[in-house]
Amino acid sequence: MFAPVRDGQIEALRAFLAGCCAPGAPGHADLANPDINFAALPMLHNIRAFIGEDPSLGDRAFHPRSLNTLFGHGAWPVERVSLGLLGCCDGSVDAFLVALAAQCDGWLAALFMHCEGFGAGDDVLAFMRGHVVKSLASYVNGPGRTVVAVHENAALLTALRAARGATVGYDPAATARQLAAVVDVPLTPPAPTTAGYAFASLLHLLSVPAAVLALVSLLVWLALRYPWLFVLVLVAATVKLWWLRHIESTDPLVVVPPDPADIAARSAFEDHDSANPFTAIGTIKPGLFRMGLVRVIHYVIDWGARHLFRSGRLGRVGTIHFARWVLIDGGRRVIFTSEYDGSAEAYMDDFINKVGFGLNVSFTNGIGYPRTRWLILDGASDEQRFKYFMRHHQIVTQFWWRAYPGQTTFDLARAARVRAGYVKLCAGEDLDELAAARWLAEIAA
């Protein structure tokens, strides 16, 4: 959710969020604070609060609204600074909001007092419901891996490790059987997928192929039925592509080398856990063309993240727990958030080297991004400009909490594999020798 901050309240809000953080770990929730007992919310993976102060707002001067567009003349509007509160949860958003309001009523009220439209005694749940923003696109590293399951998997792994020493034997299959028999950790069976959800998911899966099919059919039909119209469409498409290449090679670049003091100020919030939150904000290039492009591209990203990348990697990047794109200010700006393992520099390097094309296709619509070709080429491979761009748009995540500190995506996946083996063994199935050896090795590691 996003809610505009009251005039003159930004510093007070910053101080309030700082006061909710652990001493010595800026930006990280103070677990000793009883008002923010997020651990009592069994569906919550992580939650962050940030002040959407946009360090890149001045870049709009390089990109007047009349540039590259037949529409959208006029001055850029003045943007409000908003409070962002963003949680990743299992189940429905509304059920989470209800639980959050019930658990952290006092804290939320104190937080929202810095926002416009919220007064003493107001209902926090109604306020949150009124400010919820839908994602443009999102990615989840372990779809179906609930917080409850993560905690159970960790407990199971600990129990198996403790019991491992007591089991003996050189036959891995027998050892595995023996080990599973002596460990008893209650596991919640995964919630069955509802028919409605499965149907919606299927429709979503089919949407992109159906759209492609419809487009191709339309073109073929046009070509056969109205060849002159088809030629016209081809010409228009060619012009549009030429136009794309034209704006790609002429859109202004914004290169702001980071200031060491600024990097130091941000780094103070980073690397206190094995994972870090990343929050960035930026203005989308003006005009209808970009507006449409952003929506189409992110629909496809969302589609790919949901249906193609289900095995713990977004493209080739395995260190992202969650990623989310959100449009704000009526589509003028986008906020990108993610939670990733490792440090910011490593994150950016992984990005450039593994999914440069994916970043390009998304961020090329942002003002000042390094030059791309055909939306996917170049761009991020201009390593230094790309890193400058990312740091220029990054905003400090003033407050962040996660349900399982110290756990990387690899740790979570390993524990889930151990659980799968355990469930099999408990059901009386045997693991073959290789699988049993692997299962035992993952417990020992």
Binding site: A268, R316, G342, E345, P405
Partner: protein, 503 residues
């Protein structure tokens, strides 16, 4: 379109300090002097009169069938550049890490593992703003070193004050624990014949721009560095990417210095107690390092032709057949320091496969955790200090600590993408390549991270899939360090000739 540059052959050898091209191994003795500027005019005069040994000097001697018997190399810290009067606007164009320094910021220390006993607050020098202005590295044949050092020392006053003299042992190729050292080095493509980015397989070859500023790097781009108005710096070469600017960085390199104290008795006593005897202790140590004590790769990894390691040498192997670490543990020191990965996790079999591999639709996360090591290579130019103690001697109870260690020295064009990445994301990381609860078996600080989670583990998988898990104490402590700039000779002359009162 992004401006990219074809590889540029390096030819200006008389402008490049010798250390960029070789470790000066023929000069087995060395000493490092850390200096502070006390009198700017005298310091500049000293710099103007002091000519660091260039690659051309070494090559010329070699062509004559002799070696130079002494060499001097010179590097400056960011405070040193400021003390010599380089304008802030020029210094601001150096990389942000260099300007901040190695130990000025808790966040950097946390990332590099410089916490606990490694905390810069405990360092001999280099903590915070306490960075010496100049690092003068003196090399000689063992009989000539003392005279060489004395001669330089006699010239320092009144320009400089000697802050610290770091002694080095006469090099024998081994580091204090006994392992052959300095084996895996990138082979710099000085001739500019390799097109970066076209390697489907791991290569030792590295673009010159990864070591020297002013040349195209592995991204085919030029790393940012100070570019000046040529009117004010007529003696400097023009920038390759901007002919209207004079390049202060050209032929220079960033030098990372860290003094690592190694507890040799603790190392061998711990391993011998763990393993139960010296033979098994050496085996365990070799698993921790990932090589034989004599530098030999683990035979079961097999040999393969690697560009740059020719025809076959101690580097003719990779880990592609051992992603699970059953032959060489994933957490072994040499895997952390150089995972030997190419850009893609497998060699694509045709266009469709390339598309699937690129999109991450084949393979798995574990085998692709680390990639593109070519962007994270450094030239190591370290020197050992202290006496050697054999593993058997060191393992004896009550063995005297020889106070040995390594002056770790690395050259690169980007401190953040090269040294800091290797140290932070690979060596010190408790989560390297999907591992958990481990840090480098040699270098780790063993401090819990995050919270109370241990990082002192070392898992050694057996070929049958079984796992041996060890908890290790801290063997190595960082005791000093700093970031320096190793300038080209013309850049140094420019700094020496700065007009009084600024540039």
């Amino acid at each position: 379109m992004t401006r990219t540059f074809a590889p540029e052959p390096v030819t200006e050898w008389d402008d490049i300090q010798a250390l960029a091209a070789s470790g000066l191994g023929a000069l087995a003795a060395s000493a490092f002097l850390l200096l502070d500027v006390t009198d700017v005019a005298a310091a500049r005069a000293w710099l103007a009169a002091t000519r660091p040994t260039s690659v051309a000097d070494i090559n010329a001697a070699r062509a004559d069938g002799r070696i130079v018997s002494t060499a001097l190399q010179l590097a400056l810290s960011a405070p040193g550049l400021a003390a010599l009067g380089l304008a802030p606007a020029v210094i601001d164009q150096f990389g942000p890490e260099f300007r901040q320094g190695l130990a000025s910021d808790d966040s950097r220390s946390r990332r590099l593992g410089d916490i606990g006993t490694n905390d810069p607050a405990n360092w001999d020098w280099g903590c915070g703003a306490d960075v010496p202005h100049l690092l003068v590295m003196l090399y000689a044949t063992p009989d000539a070193l003392d005279a060489h050092v004395d001669k330089v020392l006699a010239t320092l006053s009144p320009g400089f004050i000697l802050r610290k003299r770091e002694a080095c042992a006469v090099q024998n190729g081994h580091e204090p624990f006994g392992f052959l050292d300095g084996i895996s080095q990138p082979v710099v493509d000085w001739a500019g014949v390799r097109e970066p980015g076209h390697d489907a397989l791991y290569t030792h070859l590295l673009a010159a721009g990864e070591v020297l500023l002013g040349y195209p790097n592995e991204y085919r781009c030029l790393t940012d560095r100070p570019l000046l108005d040529p009117v004010q710096a007529p003696q400097l070469p023009r920038a390759l990417d901007d002919a209207s600017r004079a390049d202060l960085g050209r032929n220079g390199s960033y030098l990372v210095y860290r003094r690592l104290a190694q507890d040799v008795p603790l190392f061998w006593q711990t391993l011998s107690a763990r393993a139960g005897g010296m033979t098994a202790a050496i085996e365990l140590a070799e698993a921790m390092v990932g090589r034989g004590i004599d530098g030999q790769p683990i035979p079961a990894l097999g040999t393969r032709a690697i560009p740059g390691a020719e025809p076959y040498d101690l580097n003719s192997f990779s880990f592609t057949g051992d992603m699970g670490g059953n032959i060489c543990p994933v957490g072994a020191h040499i895997r952390r320091a150089n995972p030997r990965n190419a850009d893609l996790p497998s060699v694509p079999d045709g266009l469709l496969d390339k598309l699937l591999v690129t999109l991450g639709l084949t393979g798995n996360a574990r085998d692709d955790a680390i990639s593109s090591t070519r962007f994270h290579r450094i030239l190591r130019r370290g020197r050992r200090f202290g006496d050697m103690l054999s593993p058997v001697e060191a393992a004896r109870p009550g063995a005297a600590d020889p106070q040995a260690g390594l002056h770790f020295i690395a050259l690169q064009a980007s401190i953040s993408r090269q040294f800091e990445f290797i140290q932070g994301a690979w060596v010190a990381s408790a989560k390297f390549a999907g591992l958990s609860g481990e840090s480098d078996p040699l270098l780790g600080n063993r401090c819990p991270f995050p919270g109370t989670m241990p990082t002192d583990g070392f898992t050694r998988p057996g070929p049958d899939g079984s796992i041996e898990k060890h908890a290790l104490p801290q063997f190595v402590t960082v005791t000093a360090g700093g970031y320096f700039f190793l300038p080209g000779l013309r850049a140094l002359a420019f700094i020496a000739a700065l007009p009084a009162g600024g540039s």
